[in-house]
């Protein structure tokens, strides 16, 4: 059966209102002009089963803010969007937990949670980010140092599997070891094992006081040291170091908590590194995390290796953003030289050797297709990745979901 015939049969199964034709969306050289939009969880499961039976492959998307992450797909027939699975089912203010469907935009969820006196502990980049997309990509922002990684705040998940079943794991309670912790596996699996349908999340109390401070520092090495120290202050919720091409270094620290503690930390940061209140908010400081020009890498380094790593990446020509409390670095390499391929090769080598020497890891988050070819955007393969293949084989043996896009070409 050719792809067109398979798509026609798919429409018969899922109904024409669940399939949207549109201008092609370009993804790593593949033009996708069809989006499957199931109306609810059962429809999502039916759709997945149909895809498996018809031998079709789907690229799963939420708000598309992280859609560029991944190796070029081995095959892609259509997009599968969770946009119609958008609802906040439960917001339990007494308990500090909520349940929402995958397609719910994070900004909506954030607003609803705030209105109940709580805080959504997720701050990934991307205005359009959805809950499901952010969890599938395990996307983090600077506040993850206080919020925890996405895997740390998911209490339970419902997931639709390619065999057409809907499976739950975890639950709504804040402590739970009932059965295998499959949520850990789905979060960060970039939609390659199943499609997240909804999630129970642990919320955080809204802090009494929040302050953003900024300091200009002359020396990048010292900035790293100060950045790590500032990030480890008891009330530090986020810390971001920005190293421009011009040599300018700035450190932003967000403090949050009870007013006396925040006040004390702010006073000490002012006295120690001349940190001053900053009104602009964190967004402009972290813009590089979502920039789509050139090559954008993310590195994970140990705090003690951060200064050396940043120095090396800077010498290699990168603009840099680092979250010292998390050991995460975003390195943006322009591709504006005469030979873009050679630029990409050099950038890759610089990043790979920096990560390797620091005992860390890296991924190429955003790049034109030519720079992804012949590489694994998830960095250097580990022997443990054989387990990734074994899991994929159990959960998605026919390769319905994002085939080829994950680590190890899974």
């Amino acid at each position: 059966m050719d792809s067109a015939e398979a798509l026609r049969r798919l429409v018969e199964v899922v109904g024409s209102d669940a399939v949207l034709r549109h201008d092609p969306l370009e993804l790593d050289g593949v033009g996708l002009d069809c989006t499957l939009r199931p109306a609810d969880g059962p429809a999502l499961a039916v759709a997945l089963q149909a895809l498996e039976r018809l031998g079709l492959a789907a690229i799963v998307r939420g708000g598309a803010s992280g859609l560029g992450l991944g190796n070029p797909p081995r095959r892609a027939d259509l997009l599968l969007s969770t946009e119609r699975l958008s609802a906040i089912d439960e917001l339990d203010a007494g308990e500090g937990v909520c349940h929402a469907l995958a397609g719910t935009p994070l900004r909506e969820l954030r607003r609803a949670v705030r209105a109940e006196g709580w805080e959504l502990p997720m701050d990934p980049p991307g205005e359009a980010a959805t809950l499901g997309g952010a969890l599938a990509a395990a996307a983090v922002g600077p506040r993850a140092q206080a919020f925890g990684r996405p895997r740390d705040l998911v209490l339970g998940l419902e997931v639709a599997l390619p065999r057409g079943e809907r499976a739950r794991c975890g639950g709504r309670v804040v402590k739970n070891v009932t059965g295998y912790d499959l949520a850990k596996l789905y979060v960060g699996s970039c939609g390659t094992l199943g499609v997240i349908e909804g999630a129970w999340l642990r919320l955080r109390p809204r802090p009494e006081s929040v302050r953003l401070l900024e300091a200009r520092l002359a020396d990048a090495g010292r900035a790293c040291q100060e950045g790590v120290a500032a990030a480890r202050r008891p009330t530090a919720r986020a810390a971001a170091l920005s190293l421009g091409a011009d040599g300018e270094v700035s450190l932003a620290v967000e403090l949050a908590g009870d007013a006396p503690s925040v006040g004390r930390d702010a006073a000490e940061l002012a006295a120690g590194i001349g940190a001053e209140p900053c009104d602009a908010g964190l967004a402009p400081l972290r813009a590089l995390q979502a920039e789509a020009s050139g090559l954008r890498f993310r590195l994970a380094l140990l705090p003690s290796r951060l200064a050396a790593g940043l120095a090396r990446l800077r010498t290699a020509g990168a603009r840099l953003l680092a979250y010292p409390g998390l050991g995460l670095v975003w390195a943006l390499f322009p591709l504006d030289g005469a030979d873009a391929r050679a630029d990409a090769d050099r950038a890759w080598l610089a990043v790979a050797s920096t990560a390797r020497d620091a005992g860390g890891s890296f991924r190429l988050e955003s790049a034109p297709l030519f720079a992804k070819r012949g590489r694994d955007v998830f960095g250097e393969a580990s022997p443990a990745w054989s387990l990734i293949g074994a899991l994929k084989q159990r959960f998605d043996p026919k390769g319905v979901l994002n085939p080829g896009r994950f680590a190890g070409g899974v």
Binding site: V174, T178, Y180, K184
Partner: protein
């Protein structure tokens, strides 16, 4: 000597391989004495390479193997329920590396939980998960069970503190999962292994996150006329947005047992319940929080609220909580420590229902629990030599679990499923949920040789599936 024992002795040495019945007897159960089954042999390997060789020797002979830590688990997870070899990790007990700068430690699985915190105290750091058995339990067992403890309310459970693992897979291969950075690429295999109850392989090394010691700690003890009021105070504290390090409740029956024991903490015997609240963080912020907690407790009718003036007093408050299990040992030969979780707002009604169940079955049931997490531990004191009482204990246990699930809860918060609750899994999960869990397990252990018979329910009951497993009523009293 059997071929298996000879092979195991060749790997670990004769002194580290046990096969005499009197030695094996010790390993027939863990902290849950109700589930017992004797292994064919026990090995105490000294290295990952020895673990690999043991696993391969078992596989070649089609013999299952069971990883085991200190055996303090409470769900029958570390027992050889289908026979086979127990791999006891207590000899692998070195702290291999401590990085105060990057705040992690690399340890072997046999390191005792409390020893790690002691070893890193000089750097102003500690290892946060603190199960009640922390003086005995080991990191390997903590990883297997995703162990919790009184301070998980603020600090999370084991899974939030494991950065990387070295694991011997069920086929004998050695893999490194995760990264000390906490951001390894690929699936979160560390997350899948933590809490998998030793069914996905044998952990031979763990890289753990260390946390900074809080600047200040304040501990409050509030006395209530009844346990429901104490639960309400907990609800108020949670709702207010305070995040105490611990919120623990001890009920009247436990207080009486504690006061009769060597753990006596000078508590009023007529108190209906006590609530322990621990707050930590920057010192400047603690005083207002103490006052808020005091107000919430008073608002729910606390008859007295004390704030510990020094460490000695803090220890006295905690004595009532931590000595509870020891004190209960005086009441009857056996203690069944239950474990279930409900949404915190449902605690008052669920607790009342749990006590009613105990009364209805004529059992000595008391409660000491992690109220801040909604994690109940109904404890039943009994004598297993009395078959009628044993039957009532098991029936009441099942009812308690059903009650918790009906309130939106789950059947275990920190003790695990093991063999104890395997056949209750379908109270919480349906066939497709369990099938997905089975997929995970099969990806790691396609032949089902690694701690078989745990976690996932089987179509048949234990005794039918395995004639060697001993029924509850056939366990001799030690």
């Amino acid at each position: 000597m059997s071929d298996l024992t000879a092979a195991l002795e060749a790997i670990v040495g004769a002194g580290a391989c046990l096969s005499r019945p009197e030695d094996l007897f010790v390993y027939q159960c863990d902290g849950l004495t109700l589930c017992a089954s004797q292994p064919d042999a026990v090995v105490l390997p000294a290295s990952a390479a020895e673990v690999q060789a043991v696993v391969r020797a078992c596989r070649e002979r089609g013999v299952p193997f069971v990883p085991r830590g200190a055996g303090t688990g409470l769900s029958g997870g570390a027992t050889a329920s289908q026979g086979g070899v127990v791999i006891e990790c207590s000899r692998m007990n070195r702290i291999l590396e401590v990085s105060p700068e990057d705040r992690y430690a690399v340890v072997e699985p046999g390191v005792v939980n409390a020893e790690l915190s002691r070893a890193v105290a000089q750097f102003g750091l500690f290892y946060a998960p603190d199960p009640s058995s922390q003086l005995a339990c080991t990191i390997g067992g903590n990883v297997a069970e995703n162990a919790g403890g009184p301070h998980t309310l603020k600090y999370g459970t084991t899974t939030n503190h494991v950065l990387a693992l070295q694991l011997v897979l069920p086929d004998g291969e050695l893999v490194e999962l995760g990264s000390p950075t906490g951001f390894a690429e690929g699936y979160d295999l560390v997350g899948a292994v933590v809490g998998s109850e030793g069914t996905l392989g044998v952990v031979t090394r763990a890289t753990l996150r260390l946390s900074p010691r809080p600047e200040g700690v304040e501990t409050l003890l509030a006395i209530f006329a009844d346990v429901v009021s104490a639960c309400r105070a907990v609800g108020e504290i949670i709702r207010s947005g305070l995040v105490p390090a611990a919120l623990e409740i001890v009920d009247q029956r436990t207080i009486a047992a504690v006061e009769d024991s060597v753990y006596a903490a000078g508590l009023p015997r007529d108190a209906g319940a006590i609530l322990i609240v621990e707050l930590d963080g920057p010192r400047v912020g603690l005083a207002p929080q103490v006052e808020r907690v005091r107000a919430f407790a008073a608002g729910e009718g606390a008859t007295r609220v004390e704030v510990a003036r020094d460490d000695a007093e803090r220890e006295r408050f905690w004595k009532a909580r931590k000595g509870a299990f020891g004190a209960m040992g005086r009441l009857a030969p056996d203690l069944y420590v239950h474990d279930a979780v409900v949404p915190r707002a449902r605690l008052p009604e669920v607790l009342a229902a749990v006590c009613a169940i105990g009364d209805r079955y004529g059992l000595r049931l008391s409660n000491v629990f992690h109220a801040g997490d909604g994690n109940l531990h109904p404890n039943i004191s009994f004598d297993r030599r009395d078959p009628d009482e044993l039957e009532r204990v098991l029936a009441a246990g099942g009812e308690i679990l059903r009650t918790c699930v009906a309130a939106g809860g789950v059947i275990t918060g920190e003790h695990g499923i093991g063999t104890e609750k395997r056949d209750y899994m379908d109270l919480v999960f349906g066939p497709s949920d369990l099938a997905a869990m089975r997929d995970l397990r099969d990806a790691f252990d396609p032949d089902g040789v690694c701690n078989p018979g745990k976690v996932l329910p089987t179509p048949r009951f234990c005794a039918e599936a395995n004639p060697r497993a001993r029924g509850y009523d056939r366990v001799p009293l030690v």
